[in-house]
Amino acid sequence: MKSAMFLSALALIMAPVTETAAQGAPAQAPAPATAQGQTTAPAQTVQIAVLRVDRAGLPPISRLELPPPDLGFAGARLGTEDNDTTGRFMGQDFETAEVTATPDTAAAELDRLIAGGTQFIVLLADDATTLALADRAGDRALILNARARSDALRGADCRANVIHVAPSHAMLADALAQFLMWKKWPRWFLVKGSYPEDADLAAAYTRAATKFGGKIVEERVFEDTGGARRTDSGHVQVQAQLPVFTQRAPDYDILITADDAGIFAGYMPYQTWDPRPVAGSAGLVPRSFHPAMEAWGATQFQTRFEKLAARPIREEDYQAWLAVRLVGEAATRARSADPAQLREFMLSPDFEVAGFKGQKLTVRDWDHQLRQPILLTTGLLMASVSPQDAYLHQVTALDTLGIDRPETQCKF
């Protein structure tokens, strides 16, 4: 316990509240908690851990996207603050541990957290690690997947003890596909990276094309051959090589990049042989969240996050915030801190949570994926939100994104 970055959420979060109360309220006014007859030690405590498994790898091709040290953790901290503010009125306290691990140490860290009594693990890890840790946790903990996007994790490899807060590749691809069909840009030139995640993502685009009537005119693989991408004047090579790489494609409307590893997509806009827009992993990018999003009250959420973290929010932060809020919302509604009861409620049809996306978010019972609108973003702005209006569904328009009940390969 002592080696990791454990935080006392209570100490961090309650302090500013008490401080403002002392400044603003008349001197005779007691602190709010005492006023409500609550003791300073709440009756119920909910333990959550955020486990981030970092893989050694190259830095992103743009230095603006270097991962901050508190990636994901900062979002979870805000979620814990939110939960604790509500918890003051419910007699509930939330403690969130923050743990970083490597793929080699992750299993041991998970065991240690579970041994310490934590039964809610917000996991930020790659696909393989997420699956391995879910199996290791078994019925000892509920995993809230806040990063891994592969469809296999929600399909053939699905696990009953996982809730996927992060959107799947299929949801992201469908969100973009709906927009492109609305634009009447149905001919896609798909370029995928050479990593396993890229194959999963490219498959999602292929599936989306079939689902919505698009056509992949050609698929190419961009091999990661290493290279001196950060060397001075590397742009000269980029400018020379990418047009060559993209030439002689059949006529197409838009180039779609499937590059989860971030190897090449960022280079692609304006460098294609033909003058065509770029989408997917660069250009118009489907995301769970974006720091410029201001709709649905998100401005105040962005402000609160930036005050806490002193940087714009990332998708991992939003997903970790949402995962922590899922647990908090369950505790509030169920008026309980009992992990088994909270888990049961989170997976019940009655459970819903708000996430600054204009509608309630719920969990699909067939694969435990959180339904959510997907933002289509350019560098600085949100350009659109899917599902697009034209796509209807007998249950909820959100189920036009991703793998629907009849198609699922998941069996719990």
Binding site: A25, A35, T85, T86, R88, F89, T303, K307
Partner: protein, 319 residues
Amino acid sequence: MKSLLTLLLLTTATPALANKVFVTNEKGNDITVIDGATMEVLGSYPAGTRPRGITISPDGKELYVCASDDDLVRVFDPETMQETHTLPSGPDPELFVLSPDGGKLYIANEDDNLVTVVDTKTHQMLAEIPVGVEPEGMGVSPDGKVVINTSETTNMAHFIDADSYQITANVLVDQRPRFAQFSDDGTRLYVSAEIGGTVSVIDPATQQVVKTIGFQIPGVLPEAIQPVGLRVTADGKKVFVALGPANRVAVIDGETLEVTDYILVGQRVWQLAFTPDQDYLYTTNGNSNDVTAIEVASNKAVKSIPVGQQPWGVVVAPN
């Protein structure tokens, strides 16, 4: 001729304020003033940065505006539309409610999980009350003894004792509660929930939810039904609820608590205000940059009036 002029002056002078409609334009940073009798725009006036909540003193002499990005409340003379002074509000004031006697302003500070209480006479801050995450809706009981705050991420209606500033009860409602309104007889409290898509009817005496009202409109996606502003007629018989991007105002029977009608208005309708005689209800339509006047007796939208950029709040001067 002379007598006609005097008469004209008299008629325009005495009821000059009556039924003037004031609309805050969140993106336009100004207030549009509408003549309630003719439903014509009289003019627009600067209101500070990001004006949202707006209300007026019972005597009609002071117009209060939450200038959210200025972190204060601006006070205007409704006759001249000149700013007379400002009030401390705490950070990011969004919505507020005036005590029935006009003496205190209860302000929701969205970014700081606080309700700030300000004395409108001395201009002093009286208290800051810690509430849930993202406080927004503010209501006050007709006797002024109970103040309600709704917190959007905590999903509660907090009951605050107006004398001690202490929270006496917390009532869980549906996702993202935006607005709290008592009936004039004080026997009911209505709380709208934007993401939950419902209105909770609370018995203030027991602090229990007696009914949760949902909405269904043919041809409108359920996700687009987002209840925000809410007003109750003085006799308690009709409850009007602005449904946001559903572009409609719902009418609820105050006795049976059933929805009886949907009135098509402008786009993303958020806040509502009655004229003093309650003949008309004005709605702010944030995305179509206009307000709609609804005839209360017939539930008919009678006129759309273009205002500034992204109209947010509305208040009508008292008689």
